[in-house]
Symmetry: C2
Subunit: 257 residues, 2 copies
Protein backbone atom coordinates (compact mmCIF):
# COMPACT_ATOMS: atom_id res chain seq x y z
CA UNK A 1 0.00 0.00 0.00
CA UNK A 2 1.26 3.46 -0.88
CA UNK A 3 1.56 5.35 2.39
CA UNK A 4 1.12 9.02 1.65
CA UNK A 5 4.07 11.23 2.58
CA UNK A 6 3.79 13.91 5.27
CA UNK A 7 5.83 16.39 3.26
CA UNK A 8 6.56 17.01 -0.38
CA UNK A 9 8.92 19.40 -2.05
CA UNK A 10 8.48 20.60 -5.61
CA UNK A 11 11.20 22.35 -7.55
CA UNK A 12 11.03 23.67 -11.10
CA UNK A 13 14.49 23.24 -12.62
CA UNK A 14 15.87 26.75 -13.17
CA UNK A 15 16.94 28.19 -16.52
CA UNK A 16 15.99 25.13 -18.52
CA UNK A 17 17.12 25.77 -22.13
CA UNK A 18 14.77 25.79 -25.10
CA UNK A 19 14.76 22.22 -26.39
CA UNK A 20 15.45 21.30 -30.02
CA UNK A 21 15.22 18.13 -32.06
CA UNK A 22 17.86 15.61 -31.09
CA UNK A 23 18.64 17.20 -27.73
CA UNK A 24 19.63 14.81 -24.96
CA UNK A 25 16.77 15.43 -22.53
CA UNK A 26 18.16 13.20 -19.79
CA UNK A 27 21.43 15.12 -19.99
CA UNK A 28 19.58 18.44 -19.79
CA UNK A 29 17.67 17.21 -16.72
CA UNK A 30 20.94 16.09 -15.07
CA UNK A 31 22.41 19.54 -15.80
CA UNK A 32 19.27 21.21 -14.43
CA UNK A 33 19.51 19.37 -11.13
CA UNK A 34 23.17 20.28 -10.87
CA UNK A 35 22.35 23.97 -11.55
CA UNK A 36 19.81 23.84 -8.73
CA UNK A 37 22.47 22.22 -6.49
CA UNK A 38 20.21 19.22 -6.01
CA UNK A 39 21.55 15.71 -5.68
CA UNK A 40 19.38 12.72 -6.60
CA UNK A 41 17.42 10.68 -4.09
CA UNK A 42 15.56 7.41 -4.46
CA UNK A 43 11.91 8.19 -5.10
CA UNK A 44 12.55 11.48 -6.86
CA UNK A 45 10.00 11.99 -9.63
CA UNK A 46 10.82 14.13 -12.66
CA UNK A 47 7.87 15.57 -14.57
CA UNK A 48 8.53 16.81 -18.10
CA UNK A 49 6.16 18.90 -20.19
CA UNK A 50 4.98 17.03 -23.30
CA UNK A 51 6.22 19.86 -25.49
CA UNK A 52 9.89 19.39 -24.74
CA UNK A 53 9.70 15.62 -25.15
CA UNK A 54 7.96 16.05 -28.50
CA UNK A 55 10.49 18.64 -29.64
CA UNK A 56 13.48 16.52 -28.64
CA UNK A 57 11.95 13.61 -30.54
CA UNK A 58 11.51 15.65 -33.69
CA UNK A 59 7.71 15.72 -33.69
CA UNK A 60 7.54 19.20 -35.24
CA UNK A 61 5.81 19.22 -38.61
CA UNK A 62 6.06 22.06 -41.14
CA UNK A 63 2.49 22.64 -42.24
CA UNK A 64 3.74 23.55 -45.73
CA UNK A 65 4.65 19.87 -46.20
CA UNK A 66 1.15 18.58 -45.34
CA UNK A 67 -1.29 17.70 -48.13
CA UNK A 68 -4.83 17.63 -46.76
CA UNK A 69 -6.99 14.72 -47.89
CA UNK A 70 -10.53 15.33 -49.12
CA UNK A 71 -11.78 14.02 -45.75
CA UNK A 72 -9.59 16.55 -43.91
CA UNK A 73 -10.78 19.35 -46.19
CA UNK A 74 -14.42 18.54 -45.54
CA UNK A 75 -13.87 18.29 -41.77
CA UNK A 76 -11.83 21.51 -41.75
CA UNK A 77 -14.72 23.34 -43.42
CA UNK A 78 -17.01 22.01 -40.70
CA UNK A 79 -14.79 22.94 -37.74
CA UNK A 80 -13.35 26.12 -39.32
CA UNK A 81 -9.72 25.06 -38.86
CA UNK A 82 -6.67 24.90 -41.15
CA UNK A 83 -7.13 21.82 -43.43
CA UNK A 84 -3.44 20.94 -43.00
CA UNK A 85 -3.82 20.91 -39.21
CA UNK A 86 -6.98 18.81 -39.53
CA UNK A 87 -5.08 16.39 -41.76
CA UNK A 88 -2.47 15.95 -39.02
CA UNK A 89 -5.21 15.52 -36.41
CA UNK A 90 -6.81 12.75 -38.46
CA UNK A 91 -3.48 10.99 -38.99
CA UNK A 92 -2.96 11.01 -35.21
CA UNK A 93 -6.48 9.80 -34.36
CA UNK A 94 -8.63 6.69 -34.27
CA UNK A 95 -11.96 8.50 -34.50
CA UNK A 96 -13.64 11.88 -34.25
CA UNK A 97 -15.57 12.30 -30.99
CA UNK A 98 -17.01 15.81 -31.54
CA UNK A 99 -16.81 18.16 -34.52
CA UNK A 100 -18.38 21.59 -34.36
CA UNK A 101 -17.24 25.06 -35.44
CA UNK A 102 -13.90 25.70 -33.66
CA UNK A 103 -14.12 22.34 -31.85
CA UNK A 104 -12.45 19.10 -32.91
CA UNK A 105 -12.25 16.45 -30.20
CA UNK A 106 -10.84 13.06 -31.17
CA UNK A 107 -9.69 9.78 -29.73
CA UNK A 108 -5.94 9.94 -30.22
CA UNK A 109 -4.29 6.75 -31.51
CA UNK A 110 -2.90 6.35 -27.96
CA UNK A 111 -6.48 6.22 -26.62
CA UNK A 112 -6.55 9.73 -25.16
CA UNK A 113 -9.72 11.73 -25.72
CA UNK A 114 -8.53 15.25 -26.48
CA UNK A 115 -8.94 18.38 -28.55
CA UNK A 116 -6.97 18.49 -31.84
CA UNK A 117 -5.18 15.20 -31.02
CA UNK A 118 -2.99 17.21 -28.64
CA UNK A 119 -1.36 19.02 -31.55
CA UNK A 120 -0.02 22.35 -30.43
CA UNK A 121 0.65 25.50 -32.39
CA UNK A 122 1.56 27.80 -29.47
CA UNK A 123 5.02 28.16 -27.89
CA UNK A 124 6.63 26.51 -30.91
CA UNK A 125 9.52 28.43 -32.45
CA UNK A 126 8.40 29.19 -35.93
CA UNK A 127 11.22 31.12 -37.59
CA UNK A 128 8.80 32.18 -40.28
CA UNK A 129 7.49 28.65 -40.86
CA UNK A 130 4.09 27.43 -39.68
CA UNK A 131 4.82 24.51 -37.42
CA UNK A 132 2.69 22.04 -35.51
CA UNK A 133 3.92 19.87 -32.66
CA UNK A 134 2.54 16.32 -32.33
CA UNK A 135 2.50 14.22 -29.16
CA UNK A 136 5.46 11.86 -28.73
CA UNK A 137 5.10 8.65 -30.77
CA UNK A 138 4.96 6.53 -27.58
CA UNK A 139 5.04 8.65 -24.40
CA UNK A 140 5.32 5.66 -22.06
CA UNK A 141 8.37 4.47 -23.99
CA UNK A 142 9.78 8.01 -23.89
CA UNK A 143 9.30 8.09 -20.11
CA UNK A 144 10.92 4.68 -19.70
CA UNK A 145 13.88 5.71 -21.84
CA UNK A 146 14.40 8.83 -19.75
CA UNK A 147 13.96 6.91 -16.49
CA UNK A 148 16.55 4.29 -17.47
CA UNK A 149 19.10 6.93 -18.47
CA UNK A 150 18.53 9.05 -15.35
CA UNK A 151 18.83 6.00 -13.13
CA UNK A 152 21.97 4.80 -14.91
CA UNK A 153 23.69 8.15 -14.53
CA UNK A 154 22.41 9.14 -11.07
CA UNK A 155 22.28 5.72 -9.44
CA UNK A 156 18.92 6.67 -7.87
CA UNK A 157 15.61 4.85 -8.41
CA UNK A 158 13.57 7.65 -9.97
CA UNK A 159 10.16 7.99 -11.56
CA UNK A 160 9.37 9.92 -14.72
CA UNK A 161 6.05 11.44 -15.79
CA UNK A 162 5.30 13.28 -19.03
CA UNK A 163 2.38 15.68 -18.62
CA UNK A 164 0.08 17.69 -20.83
CA UNK A 165 -2.87 20.00 -20.18
CA UNK A 166 -6.30 18.58 -20.98
CA UNK A 167 -9.78 19.96 -21.01
CA UNK A 168 -12.36 17.77 -19.29
CA UNK A 169 -15.99 16.79 -19.52
CA UNK A 170 -18.22 18.54 -16.96
CA UNK A 171 -15.40 20.70 -15.54
CA UNK A 172 -14.13 24.05 -16.80
CA UNK A 173 -10.40 24.72 -17.03
CA UNK A 174 -7.56 22.43 -18.01
CA UNK A 175 -5.55 20.30 -15.61
CA UNK A 176 -2.28 18.46 -15.98
CA UNK A 177 -2.67 14.83 -17.09
CA UNK A 178 -0.06 12.07 -17.39
CA UNK A 179 0.45 10.89 -20.98
CA UNK A 180 3.59 8.90 -20.13
CA UNK A 181 4.99 7.35 -16.96
CA UNK A 182 7.81 5.06 -15.86
CA UNK A 183 9.28 3.85 -12.60
CA UNK A 184 6.08 4.40 -10.60
CA UNK A 185 2.51 3.09 -10.59
CA UNK A 186 0.56 5.44 -12.87
CA UNK A 187 -2.59 3.73 -11.56
CA UNK A 188 -2.68 2.52 -7.94
CA UNK A 189 -5.13 -0.27 -7.24
CA UNK A 190 -6.18 -0.39 -3.60
CA UNK A 191 -9.17 -2.65 -4.03
CA UNK A 192 -9.69 -4.78 -0.97
CA UNK A 193 -7.68 -2.65 1.44
CA UNK A 194 -9.47 -1.69 4.66
CA UNK A 195 -10.08 1.91 5.68
CA UNK A 196 -9.29 3.44 9.08
CA UNK A 197 -12.25 1.63 10.60
CA UNK A 198 -11.72 -1.73 8.94
CA UNK A 199 -14.35 -1.44 6.19
CA UNK A 200 -13.51 -1.92 2.54
CA UNK A 201 -12.40 1.27 0.85
CA UNK A 202 -14.94 2.78 -1.52
CA UNK A 203 -12.34 4.61 -3.57
CA UNK A 204 -10.10 1.91 -4.84
CA UNK A 205 -8.25 3.00 -7.96
CA UNK A 206 -6.17 6.16 -7.76
CA UNK A 207 -4.88 8.13 -10.75
CA UNK A 208 -1.50 8.60 -9.09
CA UNK A 209 0.38 9.82 -12.18
CA UNK A 210 -2.46 12.19 -13.07
CA UNK A 211 -2.27 13.74 -9.60
CA UNK A 212 1.50 14.06 -10.06
CA UNK A 213 0.96 15.64 -13.49
CA UNK A 214 -1.52 18.16 -12.09
CA UNK A 215 0.86 19.01 -9.26
CA UNK A 216 3.72 19.74 -11.64
CA UNK A 217 1.45 21.95 -13.75
CA UNK A 218 1.18 24.34 -10.81
CA UNK A 219 4.90 25.09 -11.25
CA UNK A 220 5.24 24.84 -15.01
CA UNK A 221 2.61 27.45 -15.72
CA UNK A 222 0.48 26.99 -18.78
CA UNK A 223 2.61 29.00 -21.19
CA UNK A 224 5.64 26.98 -20.09
CA UNK A 225 7.25 30.14 -18.68
CA UNK A 226 10.59 28.46 -19.24
CA UNK A 227 9.81 25.83 -16.58
CA UNK A 228 9.13 22.60 -18.43
CA UNK A 229 10.75 20.26 -15.88
CA UNK A 230 9.69 19.83 -12.25
CA UNK A 231 11.29 17.63 -9.60
CA UNK A 232 8.96 16.19 -6.95
CA UNK A 233 10.76 14.97 -3.87
CA UNK A 234 9.20 12.93 -1.10
CA UNK A 235 6.64 10.74 -2.87
CA UNK A 236 6.36 7.13 -1.81
CA UNK A 237 4.76 4.13 -3.41
CA UNK A 238 4.88 0.40 -2.94
CA UNK A 239 2.73 -0.83 -5.82
CA UNK A 240 4.67 -2.10 -8.83
CA UNK A 241 5.24 0.39 -11.65
CA UNK A 242 2.76 0.57 -14.48
CA UNK A 243 2.58 2.92 -17.47
CA UNK A 244 0.24 5.85 -18.18
CA UNK A 245 -1.58 3.62 -20.66
CA UNK A 246 -3.20 2.04 -17.58
CA UNK A 247 -4.99 5.34 -16.95
CA UNK A 248 -6.95 5.07 -20.17
CA UNK A 249 -10.35 3.64 -19.40
CA UNK A 250 -11.57 1.12 -21.97
CA UNK A 251 -14.82 2.33 -23.48
CA UNK A 252 -16.50 -0.90 -22.36
CA UNK A 253 -15.94 -0.06 -18.68
CA UNK A 254 -16.65 3.66 -18.86
CA UNK A 255 -19.51 4.33 -16.46
CA UNK A 256 -19.72 8.00 -17.30
CA UNK A 257 -20.63 7.72 -20.98
Amino acid sequence: MATAPARLELIALPDFPLVEQGDDLAGLVMDGLARASLGWRDGDVVVLAQKIVSKAEGRLVDLATVEPSPEAQALAAQVLKDPRLVELVLRESRRVVRARPHVLIVEHRLGLIMANAGIDQSNVEAGGRELALLLPQDPDASAEGLRARLQAVSGAAVGVVINDSFGRPWRRGTTGVAIGAAGLPALVDRRGEPDLFGRALQVTMIGFADEIAATASLLMGQADEGRPVVLIRGLRWSAPPNPAAELMRPESEDLFR
Copy 2:
Protein backbone atom coordinates in the same frame (compact mmCIF):
# COMPACT_ATOMS: atom_id res chain seq x y z
CA MET B 1 -1.24 36.82 -14.80
CA ALA B 2 -0.43 34.09 -12.32
CA THR B 3 3.32 33.56 -12.50
CA ALA B 4 4.05 30.00 -11.56
CA PRO B 5 6.30 29.55 -8.54
CA ALA B 6 9.74 27.95 -8.82
CA ARG B 7 9.29 26.00 -5.60
CA LEU B 8 6.39 24.66 -3.59
CA GLU B 9 6.28 23.04 -0.21
CA LEU B 10 3.49 20.72 0.89
CA ILE B 11 2.93 19.73 4.48
CA ALA B 12 0.26 17.42 5.86
CA LEU B 13 -0.65 18.72 9.31
CA PRO B 14 0.51 16.08 11.80
CA ASP B 15 -1.73 14.24 14.26
CA PHE B 16 -4.94 15.89 13.11
CA PRO B 17 -7.70 14.68 15.45
CA LEU B 18 -10.80 12.82 14.30
CA VAL B 19 -13.39 15.49 13.59
CA GLU B 20 -16.88 15.45 15.10
CA GLN B 21 -20.02 17.46 14.56
CA GLY B 22 -19.70 21.00 15.85
CA ASP B 23 -15.90 20.98 15.98
CA ASP B 24 -14.20 24.28 15.26
CA LEU B 25 -12.29 23.34 12.12
CA ALA B 26 -10.48 26.67 11.81
CA GLY B 27 -9.29 26.27 15.39
CA LEU B 28 -8.11 22.72 14.69
CA VAL B 29 -6.19 23.96 11.63
CA MET B 30 -4.58 26.73 13.70
CA ASP B 31 -3.58 24.13 16.30
CA GLY B 32 -2.24 21.85 13.56
CA LEU B 33 0.04 24.54 12.16
CA ALA B 34 1.27 25.30 15.65
CA ARG B 35 2.00 21.57 16.24
CA ALA B 36 4.03 21.54 13.03
CA SER B 37 5.87 24.68 14.21
CA LEU B 38 4.70 26.52 11.12
CA GLY B 39 3.82 30.19 11.14
CA TRP B 40 1.40 31.60 8.59
CA ARG B 41 2.47 33.35 5.40
CA ASP B 42 0.50 35.31 2.85
CA GLY B 43 -0.42 32.98 0.00
CA ASP B 44 -0.57 29.86 2.14
CA VAL B 45 -3.30 27.55 0.90
CA VAL B 46 -5.03 25.10 3.25
CA VAL B 47 -6.68 22.09 1.63
CA LEU B 48 -9.25 20.21 3.73
CA ALA B 49 -10.69 16.81 2.91
CA GLN B 50 -14.45 17.00 2.26
CA LYS B 51 -15.05 14.38 4.94
CA ILE B 52 -13.91 16.50 7.85
CA VAL B 53 -15.83 19.54 6.65
CA SER B 54 -18.97 17.43 6.28
CA LYS B 55 -18.49 15.87 9.70
CA ALA B 56 -17.92 19.21 11.43
CA GLU B 57 -21.08 20.53 9.76
CA GLY B 58 -23.16 17.62 10.99
CA ARG B 59 -23.80 16.02 7.60
CA LEU B 60 -23.82 12.49 9.01
CA VAL B 61 -27.15 10.72 8.53
CA ASP B 62 -28.22 7.61 10.42
CA LEU B 63 -29.60 5.30 7.74
CA ALA B 64 -32.15 3.96 10.24
CA THR B 65 -33.89 7.34 10.08
CA VAL B 66 -34.25 7.31 6.28
CA GLU B 67 -37.57 6.23 4.72
CA PRO B 68 -36.99 5.30 1.07
CA SER B 69 -39.58 6.59 -1.41
CA PRO B 70 -41.08 4.24 -4.02
CA GLU B 71 -38.79 5.92 -6.59
CA ALA B 72 -35.73 5.20 -4.44
CA GLN B 73 -36.84 1.60 -3.93
CA ALA B 74 -37.23 1.02 -7.65
CA LEU B 75 -33.86 2.62 -8.42
CA ALA B 76 -32.19 0.67 -5.61
CA ALA B 77 -33.44 -2.58 -7.12
CA GLN B 78 -31.96 -1.53 -10.44
CA VAL B 79 -28.52 -0.52 -9.10
CA LEU B 80 -28.40 -3.17 -6.33
CA LYS B 81 -27.79 -0.66 -3.55
CA ASP B 82 -29.35 0.02 -0.14
CA PRO B 83 -32.71 1.78 -0.76
CA ARG B 84 -32.03 4.15 2.15
CA LEU B 85 -28.72 5.20 0.59
CA VAL B 86 -30.40 5.63 -2.78
CA GLU B 87 -33.06 7.81 -1.12
CA LEU B 88 -30.31 10.07 0.22
CA VAL B 89 -28.63 10.14 -3.20
CA LEU B 90 -31.88 11.25 -4.84
CA ARG B 91 -32.46 13.95 -2.21
CA GLU B 92 -28.99 15.30 -2.93
CA SER B 93 -29.33 15.20 -6.73
CA ARG B 94 -30.90 17.05 -9.65
CA ARG B 95 -30.98 14.07 -12.01
CA VAL B 96 -29.69 10.55 -12.55
CA VAL B 97 -26.92 10.42 -15.19
CA ARG B 98 -26.28 6.65 -15.21
CA ALA B 99 -27.95 3.78 -13.39
CA ARG B 100 -26.70 0.22 -13.79
CA PRO B 101 -26.05 -2.64 -11.38
CA HIS B 102 -23.59 -1.29 -8.75
CA VAL B 103 -23.38 2.08 -10.54
CA LEU B 104 -25.34 5.24 -9.70
CA ILE B 105 -23.95 8.44 -11.19
CA VAL B 106 -25.94 11.62 -10.66
CA GLU B 107 -25.78 15.34 -11.09
CA HIS B 108 -25.48 16.58 -7.52
CA ARG B 109 -27.62 19.60 -6.60
CA LEU B 110 -24.35 21.59 -6.60
CA GLY B 111 -23.84 20.67 -10.28
CA LEU B 112 -21.12 18.07 -9.73
CA ILE B 113 -21.38 14.88 -11.80
CA MET B 114 -20.43 12.11 -9.40
CA ALA B 115 -21.10 8.60 -8.15
CA ASN B 116 -23.65 8.28 -5.31
CA ALA B 117 -23.92 12.10 -4.97
CA GLY B 118 -20.60 11.99 -3.16
CA ILE B 119 -22.18 10.18 -0.22
CA ASP B 120 -19.60 8.19 1.67
CA GLN B 121 -19.99 5.14 3.84
CA SER B 122 -16.30 4.41 4.46
CA ASN B 123 -14.11 5.98 7.15
CA VAL B 124 -17.18 7.10 9.05
CA GLU B 125 -17.29 6.15 12.73
CA ALA B 126 -20.29 3.97 13.06
CA GLY B 127 -20.50 2.96 16.70
CA GLY B 128 -22.92 0.24 15.71
CA ARG B 129 -25.08 2.57 13.63
CA GLU B 130 -25.09 2.62 9.84
CA LEU B 131 -24.12 6.14 8.89
CA ALA B 132 -23.79 7.98 5.62
CA LEU B 133 -21.90 11.23 5.14
CA LEU B 134 -23.27 13.84 2.72
CA LEU B 135 -21.29 16.61 1.04
CA PRO B 136 -21.32 19.96 2.83
CA GLN B 137 -24.49 21.97 2.19
CA ASP B 138 -22.52 24.72 0.39
CA PRO B 139 -18.80 23.90 0.11
CA ASP B 140 -17.85 27.31 -1.32
CA ALA B 141 -19.52 28.97 1.67
CA SER B 142 -17.75 26.51 3.99
CA ALA B 143 -14.41 27.42 2.38
CA GLU B 144 -15.11 31.13 2.66
CA GLY B 145 -16.10 30.78 6.32
CA LEU B 146 -12.87 28.94 7.08
CA ARG B 147 -10.81 31.42 5.07
CA ALA B 148 -12.27 34.40 6.88
CA ARG B 149 -11.66 32.86 10.31
CA LEU B 150 -8.11 31.75 9.45
CA GLN B 151 -7.29 35.19 8.09
CA ALA B 152 -8.80 36.95 11.11
CA VAL B 153 -6.78 34.87 13.56
CA SER B 154 -3.53 34.54 11.62
CA GLY B 155 -3.45 37.96 9.94
CA ALA B 156 -2.26 36.27 6.72
CA ALA B 157 -4.07 36.33 3.36
CA VAL B 158 -4.71 32.62 2.89
CA GLY B 159 -6.62 30.47 0.42
CA VAL B 160 -8.83 27.52 1.30
CA VAL B 161 -9.77 24.55 -0.88
CA ILE B 162 -12.08 21.66 0.04
CA ASN B 163 -11.27 18.55 -1.97
CA ASP B 164 -12.85 15.22 -2.72
CA SER B 165 -11.85 12.22 -4.88
CA PHE B 166 -13.76 11.83 -8.14
CA GLY B 167 -13.87 9.21 -10.83
CA ARG B 168 -13.67 10.61 -14.35
CA PRO B 169 -14.93 9.90 -17.82
CA TRP B 170 -12.32 8.28 -20.10
CA ARG B 171 -9.67 8.00 -17.35
CA ARG B 172 -9.22 5.23 -14.80
CA GLY B 173 -8.50 6.10 -11.18
CA THR B 174 -9.78 8.90 -9.02
CA THR B 175 -8.13 12.28 -8.63
CA GLY B 176 -8.61 15.08 -6.15
CA VAL B 177 -11.13 17.71 -7.26
CA ALA B 178 -12.06 21.04 -5.67
CA ILE B 179 -15.65 21.17 -4.43
CA GLY B 180 -15.13 24.41 -2.48
CA ALA B 181 -12.66 27.28 -2.71
CA ALA B 182 -12.10 30.74 -1.23
CA GLY B 183 -9.37 33.37 -1.31
CA LEU B 184 -7.94 32.22 -4.64
CA PRO B 185 -9.10 31.91 -8.25
CA ALA B 186 -10.55 28.40 -8.57
CA LEU B 187 -10.63 29.01 -12.33
CA VAL B 188 -7.87 31.12 -13.92
CA ASP B 189 -8.80 32.77 -17.21
CA ARG B 190 -5.77 33.56 -19.33
CA ARG B 191 -7.59 34.17 -22.57
CA GLY B 192 -5.81 36.76 -24.66
CA GLU B 193 -2.43 36.42 -22.96
CA PRO B 194 0.53 35.89 -25.29
CA ASP B 195 2.78 32.83 -25.07
CA LEU B 196 6.59 32.91 -24.96
CA PHE B 197 6.68 33.71 -28.67
CA GLY B 198 3.94 36.32 -28.70
CA ARG B 199 1.12 34.16 -30.08
CA ALA B 200 -2.21 33.80 -28.33
CA LEU B 201 -2.25 30.97 -25.82
CA GLN B 202 -4.21 27.91 -26.87
CA VAL B 203 -4.85 26.76 -23.32
CA THR B 204 -6.67 29.60 -21.75
CA MET B 205 -8.71 28.46 -18.76
CA ILE B 206 -6.89 26.63 -16.00
CA GLY B 207 -8.54 24.54 -13.30
CA PHE B 208 -6.26 26.01 -10.63
CA ALA B 209 -8.20 24.77 -7.60
CA ASP B 210 -8.56 21.31 -9.14
CA GLU B 211 -4.78 21.10 -9.60
CA ILE B 212 -4.39 22.21 -5.97
CA ALA B 213 -6.93 19.58 -4.87
CA ALA B 214 -5.10 16.83 -6.79
CA THR B 215 -1.79 17.92 -5.27
CA ALA B 216 -3.12 17.72 -1.73
CA SER B 217 -4.54 14.25 -2.44
CA LEU B 218 -0.99 12.98 -2.87
CA LEU B 219 -0.40 13.70 0.83
CA MET B 220 -3.83 12.89 2.23
CA GLY B 221 -3.89 9.37 0.92
CA GLN B 222 -7.21 7.97 -0.16
CA ALA B 223 -8.20 6.38 3.15
CA ASP B 224 -7.46 9.67 4.91
CA GLU B 225 -4.63 8.02 6.84
CA GLY B 226 -5.20 10.63 9.51
CA ARG B 227 -4.00 13.40 7.16
CA PRO B 228 -7.09 15.34 6.14
CA VAL B 229 -5.46 18.80 6.07
CA VAL B 230 -2.57 19.86 3.84
CA LEU B 231 -0.78 23.20 3.77
CA ILE B 232 0.59 24.33 0.39
CA ARG B 233 3.20 27.03 0.67
CA GLY B 234 4.59 29.04 -2.24
CA LEU B 235 1.66 29.33 -4.65
CA ARG B 236 1.10 32.66 -6.34
CA TRP B 237 -1.84 34.12 -8.19
CA SER B 238 -2.88 37.53 -9.37
CA ALA B 239 -6.34 36.84 -10.76
CA PRO B 240 -9.22 37.80 -8.45
CA PRO B 241 -10.65 35.03 -6.29
CA ASN B 242 -13.57 33.00 -7.57
CA PRO B 243 -15.34 29.98 -6.07
CA ALA B 244 -15.21 26.30 -7.05
CA ALA B 245 -18.66 26.72 -8.58
CA GLU B 246 -16.82 28.38 -11.49
CA LEU B 247 -15.25 25.00 -12.28
CA MET B 248 -18.60 23.45 -13.11
CA ARG B 249 -19.11 23.56 -16.84
CA PRO B 250 -22.66 24.45 -17.88
CA GLU B 251 -24.08 21.62 -19.95
CA SER B 252 -24.68 24.06 -22.80
CA GLU B 253 -20.94 24.70 -23.23
CA ASP B 254 -19.73 21.14 -22.66
CA LEU B 255 -17.81 20.14 -25.77
CA PHE B 256 -17.13 16.63 -24.58
CA ARG B 257 -20.71 15.35 -24.30
